[in-house]
């Protein structure tokens, strides 16, 4: 599955006790650092990148369950390692758009049932051998074979492994049973990694990425060194990366503050305000990279009636919710996914705050003085807070919402896809991917239990349409349908936040994952 926030890596949904500790630690840290003389201003910072040094990254670990496999990993720290060692045919740019990485070109036939992909010339594996079409074929076949249980299986399950072949050392041909104009989007998913032809085990990683494997101790640390044969002209500048596993968020924060680590991804939202642009610790922000949604199951009472769904969308004061939960680190949402996507239906009017209209809708539906519970927990940034505020705001529409809290690390098991009203966090990804994962009838994470034939038809058609303009019209029509009768309450989008020491340069934010989607190629230390 592509870039979802895993429940374990996302225990940055802080428990009360974590927050208490972090509060003490960071308030003190802020008070202390606030008194230090400011670093010299940016005018002197534009020096040329210096080569050398080791970047120490403190990341939440997974103990004994950590793995080097790019095919089956769940911990965010393992995902980081994969991004550093391996590459994909396609990847995401800073705004979540699909761009080529190991592919040079991809061309479909007129009805998008046969694709020819040319790979980038001159790429070598860490062991020195050349990257060829056979490697691509092997990797895709491996992932598309159900028995291998690769994370990326559902992403390319529609491709029959026997329909993937190499036409020549630099061209791969993929034949599809059904037209798909968006094959390259599937290949950009963060689970479709290229490994060398014939690889069966992944303990000795051999990738094409900017860093090579040196050492790994599960639950403790891993070290990667510069790949001097990497194809970029200048980078990587760093000699090495050291990724250190932490079990505790306070310790991870303290490590950054005491120069034990240089970088910390998923910097806690409540503490981000204390960082300043010239301080010893700085903030990397990727706007609108994440959303903590609320969902209503359209086949469960009371949400079977669209009037009730519309009422719920109207009774939320989104400005207040965003201000309280996210502060300056978020914007209001219109119950639709991904304003960063070029096909986002930005022309649809913003759902407004109208508790009176909400009340009359509920009355018309015979659901005055409704009482419902929301499934919630500390399983994501702002999840519990937004649920609490929802309960407050709902009172103005005569609705009583009770919080059904579960511990953060158990949130996404069992009950999550069965409740009538719940929450789910999602990080930015292309619309087609998001719809396939949550809104199409066959979606594995169908939070809103949406089985709408019209919607499926529109999305199917869009995926077969090669012309981008026509395709956009179909996406907009699909979104209009969701805007009118869908089950999501997407009240806001929030920034991905990372913390880094002042000596770290070259980190560029990306909406698709933290720390610039773990791109350290241009990072250097001063």
């Amino acid at each position: 599955m592509t870039g979802q926030r895993k429940h374990r890596d996302d225990l940055r949904g802080l428990s009360r006790r974590d927050l208490l500790r972090l509060g003490v630690a960071a308030a003190a840290g802020a008070a202390w650092t606030g008194g230090i003389v400011r670093a010299p201003s940016a005018a002197f910072a534009q020096a040329a990148p210096t080569r050398g040094g080791t970047l120490r990254i403190g990341q939440r670990g997974g103990g004994a369950s950590e793995t080097l496999s790019p095919m089956r990993n769940v911990n965010e720290i393992d995902i980081m390692r994969t991004h550093v060692l391996y590459e994909r045919l396609y990847a995401y740019d800073a705004n979540g758009g699909v761009v080529p990485q190991l592919a040079a070109d991809a061309s479909p036939n007129p009805n998008a049932t046969v694709w020819r992909i040319k790979i980038l010339p001159g790429v070598v594996w860490h062991d020195g051998s050349p990257f060829t079409a056979n490697d691509v074929v092997y990797s895709l076949q491996y992932i598309a074979t159900k028995a291998n249980n690769a994370n990326g299986y559902t992403e390319i399950a529609y491709i029959n492994p026997s329909n993937i072949r190499a036409l020549d050392p630099s061209t791969v041909e993929i034949r599809l049973d059904q037209p798909n104009a968006l094959l390259t989007t599937s290949l950009a998913a963060r689970t479709i990694w290229m490994v060398k032809d014939g690889t069966k085990t992944f303990d000795q990683p051999n990738g094409t990425g900017p860093f090579k494997f040196q050492s790994f101790t599960a639950g403790e640390r891993s070290v990667f060194v510069r790949n001097s044969a990497y194809r970029t002209h200048n980078g990587p500048y760093l000699d090495a990366l050291e990724i250190i596993s932490f079990s505790d968020e306070t310790a991870r924060l303290n490590a950054l503050q005491t120069n034990v680590t240089d970088v910390m991804s998923q910097y806690p939202l409540p503490l981000a305000k204390t960082l300043t642009a010239n301080g010893p610790i700085r903030l990397l922000r990727a706007p609108r990279a994440f959303t903590e949604t609320m969902y209503m199951a359209v086949d469960l009472p009371p949400f079977t009636d669209n009037r009730v769904r519309r009422a719920f969308r109207l009774m939320i004061n989104r400005d207040q919710m965003v201000k309280t939960v996210l502060g300056e680190f978020g914007v209001v949402g219109n119950d639709l996914f991904w304003p960063t996507d070029p096909d986002y239906a930005s022309q649809l009017p913003q759902h407004a705050y109208d508790p009176d209209q909400a009340k009359s809708l509920l009355r018309a539906a015979g659901k005055e003085n409704l009482s419902v519970s929301i499934y919630t927990g500390d399983a994501g940034p702002g999840m519990l807070d937004s649920a609490t505020i929802l309960a407050e705001q709902a009172k103005n529409a005569g609705v009583t919402i009770t919080l059904n809290k579960v511990p953060g690390d158990q949130y996404y098991t069992a009950q999550y896809l069965k409740v009538a009203l719940g929450q789910g966090g999602w990080s930015a990804r292309p619309l087609t991917t998001q719809f396939a994962q949550v809104l199409n009838s066959t979606a594995p994470y169908n939070e809103t239990h949406f089985h709408n034939a019209d919607f499926d038809k529109l999305t199917d058609q869009a995926r077969k349409t090669i012309d981008p303009k026509k395709r956009r019209e179909l996406w907009v029509a699909a979104q209009t349908l969701l805007w009118n009768e869908g089950g999501y309450i997407i009240w806001g989008f929030q920034d991905n936040l990372d913390g880094y020491a002042a000596k770290v340069h070259g980190l560029t934010p990306s909406v698709s994952r933290w720390l610039g989607a773990y791109n350290f190629t241009d990072v250097y230390l001063s």
Binding site: R21, V24, N254, Q257, T258, Q410
Partner: protein, 318 residues
Amino acid sequence: MNPLLREIVFRLGAGVLTLLAASALIYLGVSALPGDAATAALGRDATPQLVEGLRKQFGLDRPVLERYGNWLAGFVRGDLGHSLPTGVPVAHVIGDKLWNTVVLAGVTMALLVPLATILGAVSALRPDGIVDQSTAAITLSLIATPQFVIGAILAVVFAVWLKWLPAVSLIDPSRPIFARPSILVLPVVTLLAAALAQSVRMIRATMIEVLDLPYIEAARLNGIAAWRLVLRHALPNVVAPAIQVLAYNVPWLLGGVVIVESVFEYRGVGLTLITAVQTRDLPTVEALAMLTTIVIVATSFFADITVILLNPRLRRRA
């Protein structure tokens, strides 16, 4: 049979029964938690098919009692089993982390004993005096504060602000812990902070009782100096209760170790236990639970036996 021997055998038997009961309770308890190793390994990707497949692989599709029986059979043979997500032998997972925790707990106990005794004795010599009252105030407020808050405050003050000590006690596996003793300081102080209150109060109470005894009065009337009084006449009678106090502290300390290792990222078995529970890694949790139970049972066993041996009256009665 010699009464003392009978006592020992009886206690050993009770200890084994305790182990058995604890192992069953913990196994069933962790199994009853929502989610299992398969859902934990898959996280949000836990679609029903994937979960089923992984459950089979982990052997989680068998009934709980059967799995417990298998584990028990293995345990009595000395086979600790394999960690669920990765299949690595549990002994390997725990490995050198055990030594790290032993060092942490050992250093703490080594400091706790003299500290508690001195503070308790001095407090008892002058009840409600300056030392007594200030010790009481400090230790009681420390015990009222959650340990993770104490740890966090210590880390902020001594590491982030003053930079005297490391905030994070990352152990370098290539060097012995004592090569860098500074990483032990804050964790040990945090553990002591909470453990001191009880130990000091108990020793103080015992000491006050002892100092009230007639033979002490007699010694004092004979002109023996206060310190000599305490050291040579009172202290020996406090040893037995002190041992019991310390044994009483061990379970408490073991719980504290988990918290402290977490706050300072000190890679001992406490941290291993936390991750094992999060990943529902039953074999590792059981192994660590058994370890803890053995330590606690053994400590109270030895404490009881030592007290009996030290006290001629109890020896005779036993």
